[in-house]
């Protein structure tokens, strides 16, 4: 009954790892057992975003090679006890990934967790293909910007042709998240609208996350923004996590903030 979801983007730097961390935490907040796995071999970063970098002892590759058990390598989140993290290897490179070993490890994770979230590496090379290989679903993270959208289309193309599910004729469920939306720019016609992105990519909208300066502040501290109840991006991630857990919540469009007197004063004193 468990679900393996790969978080993909094509282009790097669009907020894929941030999205993985927040969604994982959001699912855990829904009282579901969840594990987030860093598939970005050689460029480990999910540990930093989750604030767990000092607790890494063993990594995923060591588990696959039988040098460590899953129990030894899994790290339990301090922020939420339902969330576990499996780190990537920082010293090895992507070529060590092997389909059979990945399949075996995911099978073990499926037994323990309801949701297995895989943070894919950027690009569409072998590391990416291995991440999507056994996924039931994919979260596609894009920014409303031409290079991100174009690259995501190529990643989707590979998802549709190379994943095991696609190979046996089933469609891989796709969930599109548009990240770092600036509503003011959209209003002025200087940034692509969600509807246009959906039309271009031909996938369904799953969530919209506004640009939020708090995201960097959150990653500085290793405290994903979803833990900040006041943050707009945090709220968006909460809704996305609920939706992943099957709760019907409408997709909310980021709104232009009207700066009244109160807002201006807040601006001065913040």
């Amino acid at each position: 009954m468990s679900k393996v979801i790969a978080v993909i983007s094509g282009k790097g730097g669009v907020g894929k790892t941030t999205t993985t961390a927040n969604i994982g935490l959001g699912i855990a907040m829904q009282m579901k057992q969840c594990v987030v796995v860093d598939f970005d071999i050689g460029q480990r970063n999910l540990d930093m975003i989750l604030g767990l970098e000092n607790r890494v002892v063993y990594d995923m590759i060591q588990v696959m090679d039988g040098e460590a058990t899953l129990e030894q390598a899994l790290i339990r989140s301090k922020a939420n006890r339902n969330l576990y993290f499996l780190p990537a290897s920082q010293t090895k490179d992507k070529s060590v990934l092997d389909s059979e070993k990945i399949s075996k490890m995911l099978m073990e994770l499926r037994k323990k967790f309801e949701y297995v979230i895989l943070d894919a590496p950027a690009g569409i090379e072998s590391g990416f293909e291995h991440t999507i290989e056994f996924a039931d679903a994919a979260i596609i993270v894009v920014n409303p910007e031409v290079s991100s959208i174009r690259d995501s289309d190529r990643a989707i193309g590979i998802l549709d042709s190379k994943s095991q599910k696609a190979k046996i004729g089933h469609e891989v469920e796709k969930m599109l998240i548009i990240n770092r939306i600036d509503p003011e720019m959209v209003q002025k016609g200087e940034m692509l609208e969600a509807d246009d992105i959906l039309e271009i990519l031909g996938v369904e909208l799953f969530g919209m996350v506004p640009e939020d300066k708090g995201v960097i502040d959150a990653s500085n501290q290793g405290q994903p923004i979803i833990l900040n109840k006041k943050s707009d991006a945090g709220k968006a991630y909460r809704r996305i996590a609920k939706r992943i857990c099957g709760i019907k919540v409408p997709v909310e469009r980021p709104k232009v903030k009207r700066k009244g007197l109160v807002g201006k004063l807040k601006g001065i004193f913040s």
Binding site: V146, I149, D153, R154, E190, L192, D196, I200, G202
Partner: protein, 74 residues
């Protein structure tokens, strides 16, 4: 005088450019037999009339997949 009113919004430009770029990306990636297809069509038409140029374009969205073939005769 009011030319700035007519200026195309950059989001619209982005959409138009993306549609074209992605269309050709998709054609190249999942239509590896495009060149062969071109050769075959030329062979067939050449039986009746010479061909000076042929262009095949692929378009698709989530519901349909289509190709359009333009053959320029000599």
């Amino acid at each position: 005088m009011f030319s700035w009113f007519k200026k195309k919004k950059s989001a619209k430009i982005a959409k138009d450019r993306l549609q074209i770029a992605i269309m050709s990306d998709r054609a190249a990636s999942d239509f590896p037999f495009m060149e062969e297809l071109k050769r075959d069509i030329i062979e067939v038409i050449k039986k009746y009339k010479g061909v000076s140029n042929i262009e095949i374009k692929k378009a698709s969205d989530k519901d349909i997949e289509a190709i359009s073939i333009e053959v320029v005769l000599e």
